[in-house]
């Protein structure tokens, strides 16, 4: 079982203007764990997309609703290759059936890319509904 070391816990509101601040927080954390620049960008993108989805879909664009994010360093199977786990919790609406399947990229449409970016950027992307909360767990390990 992976050991988890909580590094940072953020509580923010569902306001698009917080996205730049969260992006600024996650990249240095990922770098400190040992991720290279490209992976730091990928992790930043995944987190940005996840929060965007919470704001747009879970909270329907409403501002001022709570979002919690926990950043933890986790040990993988190989102790030399740690990972970053991001747990995102919100109290918004449950995703509609099929919403988490995502849409195939490459077609000229203006939506549906966020989930694709998350799955391409991270090793694990898992959503769970627990009571009235959504919990999204994303993990990426150093290769």
């Amino acid at each position: 079982m992976a050991r988890r070391q909580l590094l940072l816990r953020l509580q923010l509101h569902s306001n698009p203007e917080v996205l730049c601040g969260v992006r600024g927080a996650v990249a240095p954390i990922a770098g400190a764990i040992g991720f290279g620049e490209e992976d730091c960008r990928a992790i930043t993108l995944a987190l940005d997309e996840a929060i965007t989805n919470v704001i747009r879909h879970a909270y329907g664009g409403k501002v001022g609703r709570e979002i919690e994010i926990r950043f933890s360093k986790v040990n993988g199977v190989n102790a030399d290759k740690p990972g970053l786990e991001i747990l995102l919790t919100d109290r918004g609406a449950e995703p509609k059936p099929g919403a988490l399947k995502g849409l195939p990229p490459g077609e000229l449409r203006s939506g549906g890319l966020g989930l694709h970016f998350m799955r391409q950027s991270m090793d694990t992307v898992v959503h769970k509904r627990v009571g009235s909360t959504n919990r999204l767990r994303m993990v990426k390990f150093i290769r």
Partner: protein, 113 residues
């Protein structure tokens, strides 16, 4: 994010600086669609040299611009993509659908499709 427009004959160049995310992608979308659909500018160029970060909402705004340009038989051109912006467009598998140049000189000189 800041977006300013320069107009040269039948060309509009949007100079964009900052990050394009959910907070400000609507402004990018509005600027593009106004120029293409309302003002009927035949060539709209986006200078993205100052854009260090773009997410799926930003890409969606660019896609809307591209679709509008195709509907109106106008040209929609990007130049100055950062590594990050290029990676995101690549990830979306939309990179090849856009007309992209390295710099403004190339974007202005780019031959008609």
């Amino acid at each position: 994010m800041q977006i300013t427009a320069r107009r040269l004959e039948n060309i509009t160049i949007f100079d964009v600086t900052g990050d394009i995310d959910l907070a400000n992608s609507p402004a990018v979308r509005k600027a593009l669609l106004t120029e293409l659909r309302e003002k009927k500018i035949p060539r709209v160029i986006m200078n993205l040299q100052g854009v260090k970060y773009i997410d799926s909402s930003g890409i969606a705004s660019l896609v809307e611009g591209l679709k509008a340009s195709r509907d109106l038989q106008a040209r929609f051109i990007l130049f100055g993509l950062s590594k990050s912006a290029r990676e995101v467009l690549q990830l979306s598998r939309l990179l090849k659908l856009f007309e992209i140049y390295e710099n403004e000189e190339q974007a202005l000189a780019g031959e008609s499709a």
